[in-house]
Symmetry: C2
Subunit: 326 residues, 2 copies
């Protein structure tokens, strides 16, 4: 097996975030589940955008956020995701290139616009997401280059990819190519509602094709339909070689074979939780592919997550390498 | 004279900001004057964007920022400015509408894209701006509705409007319509380099068509080519009925006839000075059109400016009305 060219290859929905601050009453009025992600069509996106406060736009997308953070941490990173050939697509491409991520996916021309996620942040720091998938729905098998997968130590997939239909095929093709090349496959469950929409497919994938699983408490209990975190975690232990399960201010629990590593959260002032899980996964994978022990991987995840939730937006503003002393 | 429908009608360059954090070496390498605004063409904008770090996009434009802040403070506000019929134009329109500003200007179809200002913020909080004017260069007399001007207590113009050629005519038409209706005209000098580019036109305008002048120390000394702030301020006193001159952490000085009101700055942690002057003018004009005394107008300007420079981006994040107890 040759040495990998990339530490991490992310595959995900390429999305531009629109972040606005609002209140619980606005969420209720628009029938939103606080903290969750819901899919909306173009018409609903236009209507919600018209109703919501002034926002700030920045590149997002769960795995794209992780790729950006890992690149900042010094990992060699590539990304596959579908934007349109429009202004917001240009913003997405600029931002991921600016941190040194290789982004070879051709943009969609003449179809749906670049995906947007309308993110409403409440004063408690919770974010509620409304995603118009736009160009993302056209991401398919043809966008996955098996040579790129084979050249990457870890191929990291987001659960949200189960929503756009063609992406599931891309997902499976990538997992097969990774394992054929002796590489590892990581998956984030993304969102408890997403898990509920696609539970059977997720269970099959996790048991048979995933080596490294990321999930928070709501997601892992949703996947295994267990009442407690502990029961769900033990179920995950049987399915994957490595699971990194996050528990907000209670830190994270890393399961590997019969072993368990518990990692504390890093204290911070919570402004906006958007991207917390993405940043954790980035720190963890940057550590793992850099040969660090699992305790250090978890701590790198915690530090990255703490920085991202201390301000609006899903990508870091502070110098993460300085924060970690690397 | 009928009672005005709007307190403030702003006319300015309608711009979307792209804010990125960088360092002094980047500015030197790209031959930029720290703290200034320079105009760049489409090609230079593409090249600079490709070279600069990942950014956050939000609606900007000097007078548009002021209009947004004044609306948040409860003023009745309208705005005239030219965006294109594209994604960033949609962002600009959404954000200014979201705070309740009436924005009747038709977008430009099939021409240049919406203007972008590439803003580089250095660790000292200074912002250095690179503006691609795009659709703004087509703003002209036809976009100025004299009835709207006549219905507005103060028509507020930005000095940057002297850069796109057709806007100067719009500028003069608006000033004439305002005075014909017995309303007042306010002007921000915008930038010392802009003043140097158009000094003769500015001197004529200030002496003959402006009632309320906003400027910082660099701008007012540039306009009157004086070595000291005090000399320049006295020159301004002769030209306009009311001048509000800002001096960063030294607060502001308000000149009216023979009178002088000195207002302290409000202490804050400086993160990004983008929009400080715009927010000051907004607070001041909101106070003035709301019948407040000049000391209160100046203080409202100081509070608004302090909030805006405490975070990245030119528009407020905190509840300004709560901060001012109004």
């Amino acid at each position: 097996m040759t040495s990998p060219t990339y530490d991490i290859l992310g595959i995900g929905n390429a999305i531009v975030d629109v972040v606005a601050v609002t209140n619980d009453a606005f969420l209720s009025r628009h029938d939103m589940h606080k903290g969750a992600m819901q899919l909306i069509d173009a018409e609903a996106a236009d209507a919600l955008y018209a109703a919501m406060p002034a926002g700030k736009e920045s590149s997002g997308g769960s795995v794209a956020n992780s790729c950006s953070v890992a690149a900042v941490l010094g990992s060699r990173v590539a990304y596959i995701g579908k934007v349109a050939d429009d202004q917001l697509g240009g913003v997405f491409r600029h931002d991921i290139n600016a941190v040194g991520v290789h982004f070879p996916t051709a943009p969609l021309a003449g179809g749906a616009p670049t995906a947007r996620c309308l993110i409403l942040v409440t004063p408690d720091g919770q974010r509620t997401m409304n995603t118009f998938l736009g160009a993302c729905v056209t991401l398919g098998e043809a966008d996955v280059d098996p040579a790129l997968v084979a050249a990457s130590a870890v191929t990291y997939l987001e659960g949200y990819l189960f929503d756009p239909p063609a992406a599931q095929a891309a997902f499976r093709k990538a997992a097969a190519a990774a394992h054929a090349a002796g590489r590892r496959v990581a998956l984030s469950l993304s969102d408890a509602f997403c898990v509920n929409r696609h539970r059977a497919a997720f269970l099959d994938l996790v048991a048979n094709h995933v080596d490294i699983l990321f999930a928070n408490e709501a997601e892992i209990t949703a996947l295994y339909e267990r009442n407690t975190f502990e029961e769900a975690a033990e179920a995950a232990r049987k399915d994957v070689a490595l699971a990194a399960l996050t528990r907000s201010e209670a830190g994270s629990v890393i399961l590997h074979g019969h072993g368990t590593v518990t990692v504390a959260a890093v204290a911070t002032r919570v402004v906006d939780t958007t991207g917390a899980g993405d940043a954790y996964a980035a720190g963890f994978l940057a550590g793992l592919t850099g040969g660090k022990g699992l305790d250090v991987c978890g701590l790198m995840g915690s530090v990255a997550a703490a920085e991202v939730i201390s301000h609006y937006g899903a990508r870091p503003e502070a110098d993460l390498r300085a924060l970690m002393g690397i």
